[in-house]
Symmetry: C2
Subunit: 356 residues, 2 copies
């Protein structure tokens, strides 16, 4: 039988409330609730009584109080930049991985969005005020000065950082090799005039992809023609704009194939080609990069270079947790400075053997 409600209890039950209800000290309740190694041997009967009282009062340990006392919030921060209006698919893939393993590790995650990594990084320290135990930086592009604002008391892990971060592990992929494989594949399919739509110049990743592209051409004794390399942003609009302009500046003959620095760019190309009456892959083959949802949403679906983004997100959580534990223990757990994940060419429908 439920005990009569005193009066509409506005506030949640506390440890003391439960203790009172069970006739024990708050400390005993704490021990039971945490299944602590300390006093792991509270009399079974007492434990029962406590558990019962806790359930009856719907007791939930207060996270803030717990964090304050234990110096640990059990929540991880994820920081990223939202360009234009939206979180992009790259982030989303990573985030899915983060969420999945955060869930099994019993961690909450809060996400912080910045406008850019240059002028907005000074907001980062503000996030590291005890509300998170560690920070995952997704695709940060720091300037050397920006680096200085990096939180000192908060362990961090970075994905695809453009610069090596002090006290932080960097997870990256072998983008050069991924690009090399993709372009080699195109060449083996008989394509010769291969256009590359590169990502923003200055971005390490974009440059690695461009490097892989050129290396593949050279290794197959194909000319590296500067006019066949376009630099764009990383968005679909940037892709279609770049390709449109290329066509409008004297290039009347379509390329055999296009290697894009990401899937968004590829989808932009798809659109332009469609408008031109060029068919993919019959007339022009296309390869993207990342293997985000975009690659599966286009028609035809994109052949693309997969980065194991989801896995990387999960791994980031694992590593960060190790660092947090070490940090709390006071030991300066040292880690490999960066971990490189392999890429993989995913063949779908946007590449065909060259006709004729």
């Amino acid at each position: 039988m439920a005990p009569p409600q005193k009066r509409k209890t506005k506030r949640a039950a506390t440890l003391a409330d439960v203790g009172r209800a069970a006739g024990v000290s708050a400390m005993a309740v704490s021990a039971v609730m945490n299944n602590a190694q300390t006093s792991s041997r509270i009399a079974t009967a007492t434990r029962q009584r406590i558990l019962e009282a806790a359930q009856r009062l719907r007791y939930r340990p207060n996270a803030a109080a717990r964090a304050l006392a234990a110096r640990r919030m059990n929540t991880l921060g994820v920081a990223t930049v939202v360009e234009g209006q939206d979180l992009n698919q790259y982030f989303l893939e990573v985030f899915n991985g983060v969420m999945a393993t955060a869930a099994v590790r019993n961690q909450n995650v809060t996400v912080f969005t910045l406008h850019d990594w240059r002028n907005d990084v000074d907001r980062l320290p503000g996030f590291c005020d005890g509300r998170i135990d560690g920070l995952i930086l997704v695709g940060p592009t720091f300037t050397p000065e920006g680096l200085k604002v990096l939180p000192e008391h908060t362990p961090s892990v970075a994905l695809h950082s453009n610069i090596s971060l002090p006290n932080s592990v960097n997870l990256e992929t072998d983008e050069d090799h991924g690009a090399f494989e993709a372009v080699s594949h195109l060449i083996k399919q008989g394509h010769r005039r291969i256009l590359h739509i590169a990502g923003p110049s200055g971005l390490v990743g974009a440059e690695r992809r461009a490097r892989g592209y050129e290396r593949a051409l050279r290794e197959h004794n194909l000319p590296v023609d500067p006019s066949m390399k376009l630099t764009a942003g990383y968005s679909s609009q940037a892709g279609s704009a770049a390709l449109k302009e290329w066509f409008s500046t004297g290039h009347r003959k379509a390329p055999d194939a296009i290697f894009c620095a990401n899937d968004y760019l590829a989808s932009g190309c798809l659109e332009v080609l469609g408008h031109q009456g060029l068919r993919v892959p019959d007339d022009v083959s296309i390869v993207g990069f990342d293997d985000t949802l975009v690659a599966r949403a286009t028609l035809p679906q994109l052949t693309t270079v997969r980065q194991p983004l989801r896995e990387m997100g999960g791994r980031a959580v694992e590593i960060l947790l190790e660092q947090i534990d070490a940090h709390l223990a006071g030991s300066e757990h040292s880690h490999p400075h960066s971990i490189v994940f392999p890429t993989e060419l995913i063949q779908r429908a946007s590449v065909a053997h060259r006709r004729g």
Copy 2:
């Protein structure tokens, strides 16, 4: 000149540290840092000294401590279900809106993912343990029992809830009308045999869309043929599977048009139609629903019924914040129980006038 570092200070500066450095009480520091109405008139010189000390020590108020004392964390929770592996585009649109206005309102947001709204809801109360001040439920489908576990001490707002939540505001859209408009548009374009691929039965939203579809047919004196309504999941695969099966069960003649209950379904249809050698929109017109990124990623881009998901996400934050303030003030701020947002037909390339 920076003062000599005592020793590698492992822990962040506290209010007391700053007070000591500035020669004032911790309380004075607190007042200054918060720009509090209390003691808003701390002598300018003192204030300067405090600010300076705080900056020098890189002082950051500890969030947990602050939350514990002020009973407010300044972070909002967003709960959703991840079906299969991924957060879907519907959620992402909402989430973008949430993040945008949370940023201007100076709120953090932490996201909770559940496996489903039936067996997994009991995890919800565990999130409401002081780490968030309020909860936004994105697309919850509660059973009446599930409703009971809903957090008592935590204000909440729901988007597209399937059931009316006690003490919660529900934001929805006029899906029936949206569907009606979409199908009417198809009819006006000369289409007669209009297939509807409906969302999961039992989902209020899916049923509203189906109702709008039927209403449009009837209002234009077209027959409502049960064999022209397919029930599917909400994924692209579900869409292609449903359409494939329809074709394989004796329906040799393609429909004039297909009205899909969401964009994913539409993209699935696009794929199947492509394989059948049917062209969109030349042979078959297609309309989606939601206007997620998917609608712009397909080729042709989808004509679709837009729900203002981003705006709704932003609005959810505003309303939740009001509720939190009221809750904290002890007043039982009462709100309209649900707010209905308008839908809008977005015309893109997947619909054409019927040939012949």
